[in-house]
Symmetry: D2
Subunit: 429 residues, 4 copies
Amino acid sequence: MKEIDLNFAVSRVGECRITSPISGVRFVKDEEHVLYHSDIETIKSYLETGREPPYLEKAGPREKIYFDPVNLRCGIITCGGLCPGLNDVIRAIVLTLFQQYGVKQVLGFRYGYEGLSSKYSHEPLELTPESVGSINEMGGTILGSSRGNQDIGDMVDTLNRLHIGILFAIGGDGTLQGAQAIASEATRRGLKISVIGIPKTIDNDISFIQQSFGFDTAGSEARRAIYAAYSEARGARNGIGLVKLMGRDSGFIAVYAALANSQVNFCLVPEVPFKLEGLLKALEKRLARQGYAVIVAAEGAGQDLLAATAERDASGNIRYGDIGIFLRGRIKEHFSQIGRQVEMKYIDPSYIIRSLPANARDSAFCLLLGQNAVHAGLAGKTDMVVGNWNHQGTHVPISMAVSQRKKLDPEGWLWNSVLAITGQPRNLF
Amino acid sequence: MKEIDLNFAVSRVGECRITSPISGVRFVKDEEHVLYHSDIETIKSYLETGREPPYLEKAGPREKIYFDPVNLRCGIITCGGLCPGLNDVIRAIVLTLFQQYGVKQVLGFRYGYEGLSSKYSHEPLELTPESVGSINEMGGTILGSSRGNQDIGDMVDTLNRLHIGILFAIGGDGTLQGAQAIASEATRRGLKISVIGIPKTIDNDISFIQQSFGFDTAGSEARRAIYAAYSEARGARNGIGLVKLMGRDSGFIAVYAALANSQVNFCLVPEVPFKLEGLLKALEKRLARQGYAVIVAAEGAGQDLLAATAERDASGNIRYGDIGIFLRGRIKEHFSQIGRQVEMKYIDPSYIIRSLPANARDSAFCLLLGQNAVHAGLAGKTDMVVGNWNHQGTHVPISMAVSQRKKLDPEGWLWNSVLAITGQPRNLF
Amino acid sequence: MKEIDLNFAVSRVGECRITSPISGVRFVKDEEHVLYHSDIETIKSYLETGREPPYLEKAGPREKIYFDPVNLRCGIITCGGLCPGLNDVIRAIVLTLFQQYGVKQVLGFRYGYEGLSSKYSHEPLELTPESVGSINEMGGTILGSSRGNQDIGDMVDTLNRLHIGILFAIGGDGTLQGAQAIASEATRRGLKISVIGIPKTIDNDISFIQQSFGFDTAGSEARRAIYAAYSEARGARNGIGLVKLMGRDSGFIAVYAALANSQVNFCLVPEVPFKLEGLLKALEKRLARQGYAVIVAAEGAGQDLLAATAERDASGNIRYGDIGIFLRGRIKEHFSQIGRQVEMKYIDPSYIIRSLPANARDSAFCLLLGQNAVHAGLAGKTDMVVGNWNHQGTHVPISMAVSQRKKLDPEGWLWNSVLAITGQPRNLF
Amino acid sequence: MKEIDLNFAVSRVGECRITSPISGVRFVKDEEHVLYHSDIETIKSYLETGREPPYLEKAGPREKIYFDPVNLRCGIITCGGLCPGLNDVIRAIVLTLFQQYGVKQVLGFRYGYEGLSSKYSHEPLELTPESVGSINEMGGTILGSSRGNQDIGDMVDTLNRLHIGILFAIGGDGTLQGAQAIASEATRRGLKISVIGIPKTIDNDISFIQQSFGFDTAGSEARRAIYAAYSEARGARNGIGLVKLMGRDSGFIAVYAALANSQVNFCLVPEVPFKLEGLLKALEKRLARQGYAVIVAAEGAGQDLLAATAERDASGNIRYGDIGIFLRGRIKEHFSQIGRQVEMKYIDPSYIIRSLPANARDSAFCLLLGQNAVHAGLAGKTDMVVGNWNHQGTHVPISMAVSQRKKLDPEGWLWNSVLAITGQPRNLF
């Protein structure tokens, strides 16, 4: 691991002067940290040059808190595309606010940032332990969602008008940048509004966070789709099963699914470039040897091969060319040209995956995230997200979380394992 | 039920002179039948005019059989698209041949009718109870499949050369017509080859057969896809979830899935025509009232609305225009024109459904079909399929089975139940 | 099929004078029937002796109804043990009452018949389309349940005091007998209260009803338990996997699960007696040949082998001796005596099965039952249950439904299929 | 974290002089390590006192290996109770040996250590990529298993006679101690036999290993069982759902399942003692407030409350008294004594859980473990297990792995989260 200069200091809206109503737990101190690196050489090199090795603040209940639960009103929003576990996080936040802190008022804003905008007249939902009791059994989000940001000043006006003390924002990069802007504007106006993000990315590509919620459920369901492609491919002479999976910038879902369903012969990810000719040649060989082949492509793979469309969606993300449709066409074309008949089956399970309820692991994980988000909010932390690192809950400043995408290391053990099990050549050129 | 003139007489390759090796079972006689009609008025009207009411021959083990199991060699082929349960049927046939009759040689021909053609050199698989022992846990077909027929004379040559006594053909309409042609040609040549079809149609549209294998599994998985569409739709402002399901000529899967997942607001099937304007108007109302809507369309629905493409696939089926893509486009266009922003999510779960392993019901059903196919084959029946009617296994001549598609009755209780639960208008004009 | 003298006439509380608010459907007439028998010989023999062959009244919407929906108040109760689909039936009744007939008041009585008794002060729930909208995704019953009947007069007092027009009672034999008593007492008092039963028996043992709701889900989950037993058995030297399944008087679940998971070697059901010695001898042989064995026992199997306990549960059912525990003990004992070490794994999945949400088939079926129950109730039918026969919804008088248990025919095709696939001897003596 | 004196040095059978046949991967060096601690204070205190902080050797492919793959013969055994993922590990080892290293001979010994004993005449299976290709879809172990050790000298004789270079032993504590003894005896005799353990404990209680395979699948399925208990409890007046889960010494499964299914009201684990009176009192309160209650008990919880039976099973583990049966009896008794009627439903899903196929996460994890086990074995490592620590594959000497059970920290964040979501009192006294 290389040394990097990182600043993991977390902001807060004010001093913690109130005694937590929670009793009987081991409180976590702001001075407790989790080391970012886990190899002794790197750590020694920091220490020998008189620098502190980077570490992340530990999440958990604080003995002194900032907000008085009795008068506190909180808000929750969910933004962007669906992701398994959204309802679990909402539920965990509401239950923890009510049952551990005695908070009595929680508003669920509708349809993402639209719910904070005066342009729309979405009435917020009153959330209670009863109303959220079994929402975790349903996919989607009971609050609704939308893409894109709204006017920051307008949203802060709404928060102020409704006396919101803590805003919990569940969403991806764009959402977190919005949350950061809201936190800044609130600070600028001298408002004591804490903004806590719960990072949502089914692609698992948020930096400084080991795993994001929904990722495990996505990988499990992706395995089902791959199994379908494999069955179709194996059932036909020269059958080719092609599955497009989520993963705009990072191939973690494709990799996870390939490891979990070891019938995959080619795994294409954004981090590892390939040439069409290389893929086609290797595919020919595989078909000749095995009679069928299974290909998994992350949506961001091979983007250089497509004429990049300059479009952006409502959240400002570049709309990617569709690698699945592209490969389907080119592969069929190629084999038709060389006079070999293939049977191509193409599967794009994206929406089915996104709208699933969370599996057991993600459910448990969402609960921990929601609990930690509440502890952080009550302690007056702001402009941060809750995360996890080396099996510890952590606090990460939004600026760090959105600073770069987490990516697969093409030299690392994970990608090596994929190459080993798929048997695909390291270089598809 | 209306009176119809039906001829359910089943052919056989010769006299049954051999005593069945099975003991201790109640044998079924050729004279046992299942009534086709189940209302007394129709039956009386047949009897009063001196005609026999139509009935189907009952399936089951016969006391006297035609083929001597000791010297019998059988073949199995699977044709056309994947369908849950193919491996279950193969397994049931092999186990029943070996364990109940003591047959010792079963060949699994590869890739559908290609496996019987001399043009391809696909080596058949030797099938044994050990080799098929747990294939039912896997989706697809271990034999592979292909679409389309091969030269009939060539295929009969192969069967003759390999001394096949009974050919079990698992497939849809095209396959069964091929099976019929093989049976005729064999008869013409004086060959004692029994051809038994096991009708495969995930759409459940084979006549005189109450339910076809794989249909139940398909409906169950379709429910998952609809649930995804529903979650997506509900999670967005003016969200529209659109699911395309199998069903070229008959809407049974769409109907079953709509009844099983009662979040569907519009169910579109081939049997019930609609106009685009009618659908759009009703959809507007539904969005206004409910905030989101879920649409399920069988692939054969609204084909008159599309410019029919004259293409046919390798099996000779007309390639349908894609109603899902069509509706997705037109609905978006319409709401864009009237200035209302909608969020459209389109799901086409077809391949995932087709490649699933059979669920419990289909597994049990495939076992019964396979057992009955073997009993029929050993008894020298030919040119027929095994089916089921009013909870009895039956024999149906191929000519009857392929005479017409089974279709949903737009006046019947089933469609009424769909209208009641979806709340969609009876006429979308 | 043998001739039987059956009286399927359904009672009603009064004349139907009100025009149904439903439009655009094909109404069903009281004169429409489904034949009970489906073989021509039996039907002819009835006709030749001048008798009508027995038939069941068809279910469905009537053109004229008895109750005025505007003023109608309905009640629902769920009684006895859990069964997959209870919430689906509740939901279907509520949605159909509100959406098809415009009924506005539906009470959900709590904890079975306790909810109608003045001894308990259970407040009924107000049920609306909103409150039942997604209860079908949860197992159990939102109303709660209890076993046993309460004082009939007291319960009729409650119904009268609350102005209940139709009582929908979902439950088994005991519940239906209670429903019958309530209907009689109401008639005696001249009260116009319709009592409609929806028969609940996970064992599928109600007469004149082809399949009961929850049975399919139960069979599917039972397959999982058997698979576990099979894995355990196969994984050990002389491994024996023993699964006890539901089925007090009828072995349908055990049979269904054995057909769906064809790894079962012995299937023991109440309808087919066996001796312990016979089973042990056959088991020895099986172990010697196969190295492991899987046994499935319905809870009512081999009851003569146990010292019958005379206990009865709160519903008045005889408490059966536990065949699973009995067999586990005796088998271990036996092999220990003959000096052969076996590994016995015993699985009793009962509660997990009973509390599942309904699978797709059961969900769709519960919807149809609920719709038909409402149509029957509105038409003033009473003292009856909704059922199904030869793919048609039917009305069956409670007296017929509870007259005897439906049982497996040890000579029939279903049991033959089980013997064929398990390979167990026909006689275990 | 407290300082501990740990010795993580891994043994090897000899010098690595052969160049690995693998190319194009980043090889791992023996000098690469993962820090055991992750807080800076502990690490500094080690460094300041001149000691190295403890770390674990990193797993992965080595550039130089010890065994020549061409002549290498390997063996695999699976021991002890079933655990999801056994077949995945077998498959991963076989595929990696053949496909990455070109090893050609792999024997699968039958029924655990029995397969190495001359007392039994179990013929080993020849394992090939074809024969293990889809075994991961099945639960259990294709090799069979048994409990307990066999004579060490005898087993080493067998390994020697069959020219086994690497023995892969998949099993729990007892198995690993056996593996250690085999390794020692081989060393004593100067035999170059590498023994690599893959630690199997569904309880996740092996030290220095963050998670063991099968644990995730177990937690997921346990959630289903708890859901059943919850449905039963909620469906009855004063319903109590009691679920016994695996966890002899450590409550990780119970904790995981409680977090994943947040309907649990009491979670009882071995690490946190309780008194029966405390539990009963809290249960009374919960029933009064909520009307029902759900209790989850790890099998090792409250063992002090039971009269400890001194029995040991064949593996030498103490047979625990059954806390589930005990609690069921005492709770019923108590409420009967205080005259309150409760409905108790008791679920013990153990065997169903143990025999499941691995879920996606466990499948992927088993693949990584199997790959790392092969890399370690080829490099001549011995007397060690493969593990994982802070998202890195690791090598752990068997002596460390079996030195103590990993246990839940009653003061840690995990148990705090459980207390928060269940709402159970910290002290049940």
